[in-house]
Symmetry: C2
Subunit: 377 residues, 2 copies
DNA sequence: GAAACTTATGGAAAGGTTTCCTGAACCAGG
DNA sequence: CCTGGTTCAGGAAACCTTTCCATAAGTTTC
């Protein structure tokens, strides 16, 4: 790989003067109308007391319709907005929910985040984002310094291992918590049933007549592992065993959960014709797509020579004709939001089960077919 | 596409009882130690006044080392954390920065978000996420109801068209704003120089000897367009013109900015041998990858029969050997954070240019090569 | 040895809401 | 006409910090 440096960072835009001018104009404008109005101003403009303004705008307590109209008119005229600090100081509620997520730029995590965000905004909560990798220091920094700092009403932890001490701390503060993507000890969690999903995928291949299947998953010992890898492997093996098929160390290959990871392992697995299975069950669609790309490059036809199935229903799956077990991370996010907000809004309520399983379904496309009858047998 | 419904949503985890037991135990624990200590408790335990506690913990003002030790010890023993509502009520600072972003689950946006998040957390700020699409209602809801509600100190707007009125509103509140990804009227913005990047990519192809180049970009009229599409087209055309090459309406094709979008257009463009160019400049790597996949499927060799170049240096580009003009959205995010925090922490400061251009560089891989000598000429 | 600083601490005010409590007005029922 | 309930509105307390001001002790400086 060769690289050319682009001349340099150009510091000034072509339209500098114009943009700058506009900017400065706005800046001075600030100085003029620096007056930010408080509830008192609204009260006097509307000719009522602060208490009435508060009731009128929040919708709590008795306020006559005329008064309410006067107040909201005055508030609007003054451009008044309530100070959330003051408000939450007295109510004890911040209307924020903290979301801890290890990664953003990956389909599964991005989708969760989108779902959580949508659900929170719909219900009038703001989302505070903490992108925390597995580094212990980083995590404890977030826990001790940020989260706990009375800045959030509840916490949603995505695929994050939280120590019992941290859990206790959070729960001890009376903040609802929910997890997504893996069972957190002591925290209600929503995820798909990984064992069942893997079993379903494997059974699909078995049903088509495949007997020689390899599972490409994540590294079971990997630190990132959230029991996901081991569970999907478990479902795979369960299905094989139920079908009376043997398995050995060659039945399973570990790789990174992305397209290059699947490609690498695909090249390696499919390169040797004697070792080549008739079907591959990949633990994630991106891995499956990598395997398909490797197969294409090796001149192996999918599904004629090789069937491939994944899990996720990733946006790219349709283009590659990938048969897959669909999951909806965004809905899992919404579910978690439901839980914490429910706990917030009706105290005493708590999810009646420690774990909710999100639905999955088999989406059949063109990457799976019955195995080609063997020449030798 | 056929779908099988998985049996149903299973409502209970296998480990229900255990998980539930733990959960309940923690719940009751709450009732016992419901006492949340305030600054007063810390003060009396440390034997000092509230004022001293505040100074000791915040690090502002004079406090002797022994006193500071006593106070922090007491605070730690009581598990005391300052109430951010109370604190920001008096200081007027929330330590939050709002980020408005139209999409999360796409490399460019996800990377920006990761960069912004990292930079904010490093500097002790929290990030409030607003995932706002272009819907006018949704946007105004965020603006009027959330953002403005005195919940953020500053705003970073990613690729978002903000009306002058909205800008004025924000600036009028004295909140620093920065944009990423496109010039916002009146808001300092950081992005790459799209025209220059497109010119660089095109010049690379020209330098290799290509004379028949097609540009696959985004729809210039699309509402999502943030002048990005038109600017990259402009750079392309500039380079052609500078090289003395003509161009017509066949020189440019519009599609969606993702792999399937590139694939679709690639199939269509490359399907007709007479129309097929010797090189394609795609406005984004994902589009370029789609074109490569289409070429492979049509038996067109890259780079022997067709050179392809993109913009981004997407994580998948390396695997596809894609030559590209690299940009770093995460660094652009950090730059924007620098700007707003600087404005926050040294009032009066403002970026000296309305626009900062992030660096780009050409990354050469194996998808570009000199065109094959024509049989006919 | 007094004046001028520097360092350390406490008391009290301020910041902008929400909510409790109280009182007035109004209406229906006996 | 009186009682009790409902609706409406205001005064004031409470929420929990930070910061201003004042005081006092210790340290330099001429």
């Amino acid at each position: 790989m060769t690289c050319f440096e682009l001349p340099a960072t150009v510091a000034l835009a072509a339209s500098r003067t114009r943009a700058l001018g506009f900017w400065k104009r706005l800046q001075t404008k600030v100085d003029e109308e620096v007056t930010v109005s408080g509830i008192e101003d609204v009260a006097s403009l509307a000719g009522v007391s602060k208490a009435t303004v508060s009731r009128a705008l929040s919708g709590r307590g008795y306020v006559s319709v005329e008064t309410r109209a006067k107040v909201s008119d005055a508030a609007h005229r003054l451009g008044y907005v309530v100070s959330s600090s003051a408000s939450s100081l007295v109510t004890g509620r911040t209307n924020n929910v903290g979301v801890i997520i290890p990664r953003i730029n990956q389909w599964f995590f991005g989708s969760i985040l989108e779902g959580v965000e949508r659900a929170l905004l719909d219900r009038g909560y703001d989302l505070m984002l903490y992108n925390v990798s597995k580094t212990v220091e980083e995590r404890s920094k977030v826990f001790e310094y940020f989260l706990v700092r009375k800045r959030v009403d509840a916490v949603i932890a995505v695929t994050l291992e939280i120590t019992p001490a941290e859990t206790e701390r959070l729960v001890g503060l009376g903040k609802p918590i929910a997890g997504i993507g893996g069972p957190l000890e002591g925290i209600p969690t929503v995820s798909i049933d990984d064992v069942a999903a893997a079993r379903l995928a494997t059974e699909h291949l078995l049903l088509l007549g495949h007997r020689d299947i390899v599972h490409v998953g994540g590294d079971v010992d990997e630190q990132m592992d959230f029991h996901v890898h081991s569970k999907r492997l478990k479902g795979f093996l369960e299905a094989l065993t139920a079908a009376g098929l043997p398995h050995d160390e060659n039945s399973y290959l570990a790789t990174r959960f992305d397209i290059p990871g699947g490609y690498r392992v695909g090249k390696q697995l499919l390169g040797d014709p004697r070792r080549r299975p008739t079907a591959v069950f990949a633990a994630a669609d991106e891995v499956a797509i990598g395997v398909i790309l490797a197969a294409r490059e090796l001149g192996i036809s999918v599904p004629d020579d090789l069937s491939v199935i994944g899990i996720d229903n990733h946006p790219l799956s349709d283009m590659f004709g990938l048969t897959t077990v669909e999951q909806r991370p965004d809905l899992q996010g919404e579910h978690a939001v439901d839980w914490v907000i429910r706990q917030l809004e009706q105290p005493g309520w708590s999810p009646d089960a420690g774990h909710a399983f999100a639905p999955t379904r088999l989406v059949m496309r063109s990457s799976t077919a019955p195995p080609r009858p063997r020449a030798g047998s």
